[in-house]
C-alpha cells in the first residue's frame, strides 16, 4: 500500500508492528524481508518517488575540515535513497575490518565476517549480482585473459569486486513495496522528532511533518531508523526534548567517528611491457580485482586497509577527482558532470566495447596506469556530524559535518603505494611513481584532491560497550528496548570496501532479529 502523507488529515496516527524510518537501501531491504509476513510495516519516506529540489533542501548543511561535497547533494532524499546515484560496486568486508587492531584507535566490531557471510549471500539478490562468488581462483578460470600481477602472495592479494547494474532500489522495488498488503509506504513523511517513555527506554511515537503543513505521528512496537550516515545521527541529536544531548547520546558518541572511503589518485604504475591488465579493468562479466595488502603486512607496517585500482594513464589524466566533479548542491548536475567527464575520457560503455573490438592488440595495451587507492579511514572522534544553528523548513536543525583525518591515513597512503612499488620492482615488471604530495614523509596533510564516495559511516557506531558505541551488536540503541539503527552509520570501522552491499547484508540480519523479537512478544 502507498499513501501520500500530504493527503492525510492533520494529526493522523499511523500504526504498525514495526516502523521503518527511511526508504533507501537499508529501509527497503528490511521491508522486503517482512513482505508477506504477519506483521504490519509502516515505511516512512521523506520524499516522493522522484527527485525534488525542495525536498533535497532538507539535507542541506555546512562542512568544515577536509573539503567535502555539498551536504545537500551527498545523500538522496526520495524513495530508493542514495542508491539513486550508487556506482554498483559490491564486495564483502575483509576479516581484518572487524578485528581489534592495536595500531587503529577504536577499531574492533562486536561481530566478525562470519556473522555477516550468510547475509551477504542473501543480499546478493537484492543488488542483482548473479552470484556471490568473490573467490579469485573461480574468476581466473572464467577468462584466460584474467592474469594477476605477478606479486608476492605473502604481501599483496587480489580483492574481487562484482558490479551491480547498479540496482536503483527506488525503481526496482517500488511496485513490490506498493503492492505488498502488509507494508504501508508513506511518502512525504519526514520524521522530525522522537518521543520516548519517561524512563527513555522505549520510543512511543515519532513525529512526522511535510511541506503540506501536516503533522502526523507513527506508533509501533519497534522502530528502525534507516536514514543513512548523516541523517541518522541528525535525527537522534535533534530528539533532545527529553534527553538534553539527544537520544542515545549519554556518552557523547552520536555523530562522532564519521568515516568515508577516502580516495587518492597519487601514484602511477609504469610497466616495461604494455599490458591490458584485464583482471583489473571493469569489463564483462562485470567483475574486477583490486590490489590489497595482506593483513599480516598491514599489522607489520601498522597501516590501514586499502585497495588499489588501475586506470590507463591517458584516460585518467583527463578525469577530474570526485571532489572536483561533485561540487554542486544539485545531485542532477553532479551526475551530469560525471557522465560528461567519463564520456570525454573513456567514452560510453558501448563505445569502449566497440573500440575494444576494432582496435589492434597494441592499442588495447597500455604502458602506464594511474593507481587509485581507496583507503579505510581511521575512526576519529573529531570527524563528526553535529547540529547546526540553522533549521530546515520543517524546523529540524541542519546537520553540519567536520571531516577530519589522523596522521595514520597519510602514512598508510604512502606505504601502500611503496609496497606496490617494491613488488613491481621485485617482479621486474615496472616501476611505481608517487605524486609530489607523497614525497615528504613528514608531511601529514592530505592531497587537495582527496575524495570520498558519498559513503557516510560510523556515526552511530556498533560496540558492546555503551561507552564506546551507540548501538549494540544487534544494532539496538544502547539503553533502549525498541529502537534500532540500520545502515552504515552502525559500522565500527569503515573498511576499504564500498558500503552498500554490507548495508544490505546488515539490514537483512537486523530484519531477522526484529522478526524474532516480534515472534517472542506475540507468543507472550
Amino acid at each position: 500500500m502507498h499513501t501520500d502523507a500530504r493527503n492525510l488529515d492533520n494529526g493522523t496516527t499511523l500504526t504498525g508492528d514495526i516502523c521503518i524510518i527511511g526508504a533507501g537501501a537499508a529501509g527497503i531491504s528490511i521491508a522486503l524481508e517482512f513482505m508477506n509476513s504477519n506483521y504490519d510495516v509502516v515505511l516512512l519516506e521523506g520524499g516522493g518517488f522522484e527527485y525534488e529540489d525542495r525536498i533535497q533542501e532538507l539535507y542541506d548543511g555546512k562542512t568544515t575540515g577536509q573539503p567535502y561535497y555539498p551536504m545537500k547533494s551527498s545523500e538522496l532524499h526520495y524513495f530508493g535513497g542514495t542508491t539513486g546515484h550508487w556506482g554498483g560496486m559490491c564486495a564483502v568486508f575483509d576479516p581484518i575490518t572487524f578485528q581489534k587492531r592495536d595500531w587503529v584507535n577504536d577499531s574492533g566490531w562486536p561481530i566478525n565476517q562470519d556473522t555477516l557471510l550468510p547475509y551477504y549471500k542473501r543480499a546478493a539478490s537484492n543488488v542483482d549480482i548473479d552470484s556471490n562468488n568473490f573467490d579469485l581462483e573461480f574468476w581466473l578460470k572464467q577468462d584466460p585473459d584474467f592474469i594477476p600481477l605477478p606479486f608476492d602472495e605473502q604481501v599483496v592479494w587480489n580483492k574481487i569486486w562484482k558490479f551491480s547494474k547498479p540496482t536503483r532500489f527506488g525503481i526496482k522495488y517500488r511496485e513490490q513495496i506498493v503492492n505488498a498488503k502488509n507494508i504501508h509506504l508513506y511518502t512525504y513523511a519526514n520524521v522530525v522528532d522522537i518521543t520516548c517513555t519517561e524512563n527513555l527506554q522505549n520510543v512511543k511515537t515519532v513525529t512526522i511533518k511535510n511541506y503540506a503543513g501536516k503533522t502526523l505521528t507513527a506508533k509501533a512496537k519497534y522502530f528502525i531508523l534507516a536514514c543513512a550516515g548523516i541523517q541518522n545521527p541528525r535525527i537522534l541529536l535533534a530528539a533532545n526534548k527529553q534527553a538534553n544531548k539527544g537520544l542515545g547520546n549519554e556518552h557523547d558518541l552520536v555523530g562522532r567517528f564519521f568515516m568515508e572511503n577516502a580516495e587518492f589518485k597519487s601514484a602511477e604504475l609504469w610497466l616495461n611491457q604494455k599490458s591490458e591488465l584485464n583482471l583489473y579493468m571493469n569489463l564483462q562479466p562485470r567483475v574486477r580485482a583490486e590490489l590489497a595488502i595482506m593483513p599480516e603486512k598491514q599489522a607489520a607496517f601498522k597501516i590501514l586497509n586499502g585497495m588499489v585500482s588501475f586506470t590507463p594513464l591517458d584516460y585518467a589524466k583527463q578525469m577530474p577527482s570526485y571532489i572536483q566533479l561533485w561540487n554542486t548542491s544539485d545531485p542532477r548536475i553532479n551526475e551530469e558532470q560525471t557522465r560528461k567527464a567519463m564520456y570525454k575520457t573513456a567514452g560510453s560503455r558501448i563505445h569502449r566495447l566497440f573500440e575494444k573490438f576494432k582496435s589492434t592488440e597494441s592499442k588495447k595495451k597500455h604502458q602506464a596506469f594511474q593507481m587509485t587507492l581507496r583507503l579505510e579511514q581511521s575512526p576519529n572522534p573529531l570527524s563528526r556530524v553535529t547540529l547546526g544553528n540553522q533549521k530546515d523548513e520543517l524546523g529540524v536543525p541542519q546537520a553540519n559535518l567536520n571531516w577530519a583525518f589522523t596522521p595514520l591515513e597519510k602514512k598508510s597512503l604512502r606505504k601502500i603505494y611503496e609496497i606496490i612499488g617494491q613488488q613491481a620492482g621485485e617482479a621486474g615488471i615496472g616501476r611505481v611513481r608517487l605524486m609530489e604530495e607523497l614525497w615528504d614523509p613528514s608531511d601529514e596533510t592530505l592531497p587537495v584532491t582527496t575524495s570520498g564516495g558519498w559513503h557516510h559511516m560510523g556515526t552511530t557506531r556498533m560496540s558492546d560497550d555503551p561507552k564506546k558505541g551507540v548501538v549494540d551488536a544487534d544494532c539496538k540503541l544502547h539503553g533502549m528496548q525498541n529502537l534500532f539503527i540500520a545502515g552504515s552509520s552502525c559500522f565500527t570501522t569503515g573498511s576499504a570496501v564500498n558500503p552498500t552491499f554490507t548495508i544490505v547484508a546488515l539490514s537483512i540480519r537486523l530484519a531477522d532479529h526484529v522478526k524474532h523479537l516480534l515472534s517472542i512478544s506475540n507468543n507472550i
Binding site: 592474469i147 605477478p150 620492482g425 615488471i429 611505481v432
Partner: protein, 133 residues
C-alpha cells in the same frame, strides 16, 4: 601466479629464461644501456629519457653526498655481482647481472624514493654515475 605467466600471456612470446632476461632479449638493440649497462638502468630507461635519469642521479647525490664520485658509485654498483662468464665484458651479460641485483635490492627493500620514483639503490647509483659522466 609467477611473473613468467604474466609476461608470457601479455606478450605472446615465450622465452626460456626469467623475466629480466626475457624482457632484455626483446629490447631495442640500439638502447644506450646496452652499450653502457652501468650507467643506464634497464627498466627505468623504458620510461625516462636521459635528462630525467640524470636528474634522479643528481638528487640521489644530494641525499648521499658520500657517494659523489664515479669510483665509489662504480664500486657500489658492481659490488656483489658474480664474475662474468669466461671473464668477458659482454654488456648484455653485465646488464642481466645488474638487473638481478636490482631485483634483489627490491626484495631486500633497499629502495629509495627519488623524484617520486620508487627505485632500487643500484638504479639510483646508475643514474648518479650517468649524471657524473
Amino acid at each position: 601466479m609467477k611473473r613468467r605467466t604474466f609476461i608470457y600471456t601479455g606478450t605472446g612470446i615465450v622465452v626460456a629464461t626469467g623475466l629480466g632476461v626475457g624482457a632484455f632479449l626483446l629490447r631495442n638493440p640500439e638502447s644506450k644501456w646496452k652499450i653502457q649497462p652501468f650507467h643506464y638502468p634497464f627498466i627505468l630507461s623504458d620510461f625516462l629519457n636521459e635528462e630525467f635519469l640524470r636528474a634522479i642521479g643528481n638528487n640521489y647525490l644530494v641525499v648521499r653526498p658520500d657517494e659523489n664520485s664515479k669510483e665509489k658509485l662504480f664500486s657500489e654498483i658492481t659490488s656483489g655481482l658474480p664474475k662474468t662468464q669466461n671473464n668477458t665484458n659482454d654488456p648484455d651479460e653485465q646488464a642481466i647481472k645488474i638487473e638481478k641485483k636490482v631485483e634483489m635490492d627490491f626484495k631486500s627493500e633497499r629502495m629509495v624514493l627519488i623524484n617520486g620514483w620508487v627505485i632500487s639503490e643500484t638504479e639510483a647509483r646508475q643514474c648518479a654515475l650517468l649524471f657524473l659522466s
